[in-house]
Amino acid sequence: MPKIIINDKEIEFEKGMTVLQACELADVEIPRFCYHEKLSIAGNCRMCLVEMEKSGKPIASCAMPAAEGMNIKTNTSFVEKARKGVMEFLLANHPLDCPVCDQGGECDLQDQSLYYGVDKSRFVENKRFVKEKYMGPLIKTQMTRCIHCTRCVRFATEVAGVPEIGAIGRGENMEITTYLEKSMESELSANVIDLCPVGALTSKPYAFEARPWELKKTESIDVMDAVGSNIRVDTYNWEVKRVLPRLNNEINEEWISDKSRYSCDGLLKQRLDVPYIKKNNKLQKSNWDEALDLMISKIKETNPNEIAGHLGDMIGLENALAFKKLFEKFNSQNLELREKKFYINTNEKMNYIFNSSIQGIEESDLILLIGANPRHEATMINARIRKAFVKNSLPVFSIGNPGDLTYNYTIIGNSTKDISKLINKESNFSKKLLSSKKPIIIIGESALGLKSGKYIFESIKKFLNDNSFISKDWNALNILTQNASTVGLIDLKVLPNKNDYSFFDKLNDGKFKFLYLLGSDNLEFKKNKEFIVYQGSHGDRGAEIADIVLPNAAYTEQNALYENLEGRIQECRKASYPIGESKEDWKIFNLILKKLDKKNDTFKFESLRKEVFEKVLNFTNINDLPERKLVKEVEESSKFINEEITINPLDYYYSNSISRASKTMSECRQISKKVKKTG
């Protein structure tokens, strides 16, 4: 490997690195504003100047490729003088409004001016003023503070794939704006707030809420979709003030979706704080004793076969396991986790997870989407596909039309006929697929929900297995589940029979008399005469139809494990407290068990967690991918039915009870609807 001398220390670096990256290898910190690891290099802030031997001028280390034998110095007075000069120019037009700026305390410019700022201004001219720009309901702008690093412009064009932000004008009149000040049409738009090194782009919902040093920071996991993005939850007292992304290159890199970030104001609204009982067709405040007594009496008078339970979209693994055990006590097996009918083969773990892994997308050389819209169903996966599309010009194909995905793709058909052609090697696309080395086939819930869902899944699995696309090194079979709880609950064997819609059939036939909804708001059914107990955190669709409402803790208020769509177990940590009289789910189950005179069977959190680790299939380590196994058996695929593959649209900003309670999300939803109407 080539060598470079940094501050008289010789280090080795990889070919293709820049001087700045080499300096980082040598543990030398270089100040910067415009440079960002995940974005292209712009080299326009000039803050990263360093001294290079044989160069009369200082060089911008972010843009200079490192070369053999370079002698770089970063701690000389020459460098300091250069950086001070740059900082003076940056501050020439930057307002001195740190006390009223939301970036204060986490501002790159503030931090770096501590080391390179000059204490007096030599400028007597007025500072320039730039009008605020409208960028949508999430981004608050104060463009006078902008230092034109163009990180936001590069993010929008490169990562988000919506080239809507740009720099207009030139010289002193340069301004950053969206095209005609329209709101940014992306599910990743709010990441520009984190990227902005100054207070030009700040968070609108979080404006003037708190200072960073007042907040308690808890590292946690997002549960808005099945990706399991790593987040940091910032709380002030018990109130969740904001959610920020945490770096995890295997899942979300440095970004999170707008829904993950801004649903948090929904945690304060429409919360259930005490148990409710329906009296005279109206839910009335009650207490735990009364509500549970009524519930127990109903359970006792109901035949166990007529007791059913449904687990919602954001249930942690420990709670789900306790719920399953509780139902064993009820002698009932009518449990379901799906919100709509869709085919799942629960025989093997690979049948319901994203086997290629999110990072694997970057290695892949072909992607086929079947009835999936990753942009809405798993935003971070879409961002990763886009990254591979831009970096490796990865070809993407789709069966079914998912709409705008922020990258180009080819629709090769929209019916199950195209799938049968593909597996019978009759179409041109089959050749392409067979000649690829690491293909990825992503099957969405919309496709599995069709009558031919079984056919689609089993025949594709067989096709991939026959053509050795399922091996220890690479598994091309991927299922795109939509809810944070789905994969984990299947692992816990919540579904009693492998592929059975009996729950839905019985539910629609009105065969259940007692229905226990554990945080499920998206289950669509017509209420007959069931007695419904809803246990959830928000007064949403589930609570509306319930006879008893039991308040539980939301995802930021309890410790729990979640399994993401790759089968990766991650820990969601308690950042705040359950509000009012609400409790963690397993504690509520303990109350029920006590009422049933089964005190000895009560749950303990630690033992529940231990059991979860034992039960999860192919488990390796927490935060790690599951073990890759070979296909054990291939199921007989069912009959071919000619069907059109349509993708059920997902109401992105309104997909769960927390986001439905969020004011920010409803604003986003209205604006995105308006944009779609006017085009």
Binding site: G166, R170, Y179, L180
Partner: protein, 201 residues
């Protein structure tokens, strides 16, 4: 110079006419197919020529679609360069050079006269609506300073008297001839024999 702003009243539609579409084909041939965005500047100029010397938003959108590039990128280019007009200008569009050589030779007087005769501010249409003026940076005719450009023509070696005559002629919609107003032949030396022995005024 301040940031150029787009005009309030925008036409809803813009299409190149037949003649210009032929031009577009010729322009696009100059660049490799994968780099067809490179044609954005000549196409913006073409649009400005077609649309009475200014570029409406509809034209930027049209060009963005034509070259399959984001609207914001076309917008960036159009706002960056000073010679693209984003708001209507007069039929007689006067550009007064005020860079150092012209200024030393009295360009400020020209500006003053424009303010009096045409409109008190830059980029403002005259009362009759057929003239407007703007201060510009060096137009490259320093030898004939002070000078101004009216539409495509250079009016050079100006003084107050000649400027008043020119501006009056524009207001009457009967523009005078372009060229030197001290009778010079292009940029030849004044009152000194030229190399071929001819005597100039």
């Amino acid at each position: 110079m301040s940031l150029k702003k787009v005009h309030k009243d925008q036409p809803s539609d813009f299409n190149f006419n037949k003649k210009n579409l032929e031009q577009v084909d010729i322009i696009l041939k100059r660049y490799p197919k994968k780099n067809k965005k490179s044609a954005v500047m000549p196409l913006l100029y073409l649009a400005q020529r077609q649309n009475n010397n200014w570029i409406p938003l509809a034209a930027m959108k049209y060009i963005g679609k034509l070259l399959s590039m984001p609207y914001i990128s076309v917008y960036e280019v159009a706002t960056f360069y000073t010679m693209y007009n984003l708001a209507p200008v007069g039929k007689h569009f006067i550009q007064v050079c005020t860079t150092t050589p012209c200024l030393i030779r009295g360009a400020d007087k020209l500006v003053k006269l424009c303010k009096e005769k045409i409109s008190p501010n830059e980029n403002e249409l005259s009362k009759k609506g057929d003239c407007s003026w703007v201060e510009v940076e060096c137009l490259g005719a320093c030898v004939n300073a002070p000078m101004m450009q009216i539409n495509d023509n250079y009016y050079e070696d100006l003084d107050e008297k000649s400027t008043i005559e020119i501006l009056n002629s524009l207001i009457k919609d009967k523009p005078l001839k372009p060229g030197s107003y001290r009778g010079r032949k292009s940029t030849s030396p004044e009152k000194i024999k030229s190399t071929n022995g001819e005597q100039h005024a």
